[in-house]
C-alpha cells in the first residue's frame, strides 16, 4: 500500500543548530584521514581551507522530524547516498549553522519489493550568511 502522509510537512525546517567555531586541528585531521597532501588542506595559515567534504560533519541535534510519517518511525533506515552542492569553502574560525528540513518522501518498487526514500535537506551556512553547502541525504527504508 502506498505511503500516505501530509505533504505540507515537506520543506518545513525542523532543526537548526549553530556550532562552535571551526578549528585548525579539525580541518587538518579531516584532510589527513582522507590522505590529502595539498598544503591548502594541511598547513596552518591564511591559506588553510577545509576539504570540500568536511561539510558532511555538520548535522543537527535531530536527524529526522517528529512529523515523519508514522509507518517509518519504527523502521530501520540505511544511508542510500547524498547530493551535495558546494558553496564557499570553510575556513578556521568559521561559525557554521545547519538547518534541516524534510525535503521529499517517495517510493520505488523494484525486484526486491517496495522501498521508501526519505530525503533530508541540510543547508549549511557560515557566520556571514554565505551558503557553504546544501546536502540532500537519502535514507532508504525497505519493507
Amino acid at each position: 500500500m502506498a505511503l500516505e502522509f501530509d505533504r505540507s510537512i515537506l520543506g518545513q525546517e525542523f532543526d537548526r543548530v549553530e556550532r562552535e567555531p571551526v578549528t585548525v586541528d579539525e580541518i587538518v585531521a579531516f584532510a589527513h584521514a582522507l590522505g590529502c597532501t595539498e598544503p591548502c588542506y594541511l598547513e596552518p595559515g591564511s591559506g588553510l581551507v577545509a576539504h570540500p567534504t568536511f561539510v558532511v560533519r555538520y548535522r543537527g541535534r535531530r536527524f529526522l522530524p517528529d512529523s515523519l510519517p508514522d509507518p517509518l518511525k519504527t523502521r530501520m533506515s540505511f544511508d542510500a547516498g547524498k547530493d551535495i552542492d558546494f558553496g564557499v569553502p570553510i575556513r578556521p574560525g568559521d561559525r557554521i549553522s545547519v538547518g534541516a528540513a524534510l525535503h521529499d518522501v517517495y517510493e520505488k518498487t523494484g525486484r526486491t519489493g517496495t522501498m521508501t526514500f526519505v530525503v533530508v535537506r541540510f543547508v549549511i551556512r557560515n557566520q556571514r550568511g554565505e551558503t557553504v553547502a546544501t546536502i540532500d541525504n537519502r535514507l532508504l527504508y525497505k519493507d
Partner: protein, 136 residues
C-alpha cells in the same frame, strides 16, 4: 581554483583510475575526524554487534575519496556538485579503485559532467555518482 583547461577536456576522457589501500586505521581516523566514531567504523567486534559482517567505512568517506580523485584531475576547488549512491558496503583492509569519466561538457558554463565510482578489488561498483566540475 580549477586548473584544468576546458579546451583540454573531452567527453570520454578518464580520471584515474587510482588504486588506494583503505587501511582500518585510516577509517578510524576518518570516523573520529568526522565526529561519527560509531562501533561499526572502529572495529570488527563493534560492527558485528550491530549486525554487520565486520568493520565498514562510512559512506561519507567514499565521497571524500571521490572528491580527492576529481580535484587531482581538475584542481583544488573545482567540484561544484557531487551526487552519490551507496550501493554496497565498503570494507577496509582492501584496495579500492577510484574511477571517473567525462560524460558531457558545457562550453558556455565552462563545466564538465563526470561519472565517478569506486570499485572493490573484485570489480564491483560499491559507490556510483556524478559530479559537476568547473574548468579553467
Amino acid at each position: 581554483m580549477p586548473t584544468r583547461r576546458f579546451d583540454d577536456v573531452h567527453e570520454g576522457d578518464e580520471l584515474g583510475p587510482e588504486d588506494w589501500f583503505l587501511a582500518k586505521d585510516r577509517v578510524r581516523d576518518y570516523a573520529r575526524a568526522n565526529d561519527i566514531a560509531f562501533p561499526r567504523f572502529l572495529d570488527d567486534e563493534g560492527a558485528r554487534a550491530e549486525g554487520l559482517p565486520g568493520m565498514i567505512a562510512p559512506g561519507n568517506m567514499s565521497m571524500g575519496l571521490l572528491v580527492r580523485l576529481v580535484e587531482a584531475w581538475g584542481g583544488i576547488g573545482c567540484v561544484r556538485r557531487l551526487g552519490t549512491t551507496f550501493r554496497g558496503v565498503v570494507l577496509p583492509d582492501r584496495t579500492l579503485r577510484l574511477c571517473g569519466a567525462v560524460t558531457h561538457t558545457d562550453a558556455a558554463a565552462r563545466t564538465a559532467e563526470l561519472d565517478v565510482w569506486i570499485e572493490s578489488d573484485e570489480g564491483e561498483r560499491l559507490v556510483i555518482g556524478t559530479a559537476t566540475v568547473a574548468l579553467a
